[in-house]
Symmetry: C2
Subunit: 205 residues, 2 copies
Amino acid sequence: MRSASGKTGRPSSPTSGAETEQAFIAAATRLFAERGFKGTSIADLARELNLTTASLYYYVDGKQELLARVLETGMADFLARLQDIAEGMGDPREKLERAVENHIDFVINRRDVVRIFLRYRGMLQDSPREHYQGLLDRYQLLFTTILADALGDSMPDIDIVLVRQTVLGMINSLIEWYDPAGRLPPDVLRSQLSRLILERMLRRD
Amino acid sequence: MRSASGKTGRPSSPTSGAETEQAFIAAATRLFAERGFKGTSIADLARELNLTTASLYYYVDGKQELLARVLETGMADFLARLQDIAEGMGDPREKLERAVENHIDFVINRRDVVRIFLRYRGMLQDSPREHYQGLLDRYQLLFTTILADALGDSMPDIDIVLVRQTVLGMINSLIEWYDPAGRLPPDVLRSQLSRLILERMLRRD
DNA sequence: CCTACCGATCGGTAGG
DNA sequence: CCTACCGATCGGTAGG
């Protein structure tokens, strides 16, 4: 991506590319989450950024590149948090608790990105697809490791991958129904769901 | 919907409307699940049915009607199964087990419809949307009732709606990762997931 | 059920 | 030669 600046046609002073990139990713994230990937046109994105569609093409190759940026930056951040937890202090059980609550918080606080993860990752192609898949694989492997360390051999008869996907799946499903402004405030939701997972489903017998 | 018949342009003998409807719903289900709702064109659907796009419009009002048919017939079937379980024999705990395993089986055996439920129900509008939402509400209410009967007051400190959404969410998430031809055969998956839910997460203390 | 089309919009690109 | 864009339009396809 190159850097954009003002709203007018003047050559305009160069702004930092990082700032521009932020704006593009934020706009794409909002629109893809709201209208869907196919439901968002290049014109929609350009309008959001106060550009013409032609100008948008000066910065990006197309919607696919924007989707890749959204997914890669979001997933990289998500993975970094889990790595901090894995490498941080605490016993295995505490790390699992933090990993679970981190995942819950991510789904609640970054709804738009998570919605795009879950719905449109399949639209990625070629090398962006492989790169994103690599980050996702690392996240899942790391989560499995944290899970296995915390569980020990307390659940020998159940497949560890099934457990991991089930835990992540129940948290991810928040995106479909949870309303932070609803009956259950975020901190209550987090603690109840966390207890349902850790003190019930994954309790050591 | 009217009824279609052969592949040629002859007025062709009237076949049962039911047979035609089946073919339309089957084609729409396959394509929407494979390519997405917006990713499926009217031309794609017509080709699948050996019709021209213009002819397709003779039978249906458009993609929205097909989506509504797919969702309503699928959801009605899904609800009927749960009603049979609720009204059938057995104690509350057995009914809950059947309800859970029924849901698992539905996700495994009717992947295409479930994928459309989860991804494209939001694209419905107006009265089809309300009708579908009504069926979904009834399913969720019935599931909550079965859940509450089975749990009694064994989990007084956790919100029953959170429990319901969590149970349904973890089962629904199978659509994202479970491969019936993979490492876990369907019957093993069903029994392990069922036990994870019933004997662990919802165990009576 | 087909042929012959439409208004509009799609993602993407031309020259300047 | 490069940057940062613009107005206008390209070839095709959407639903109807």
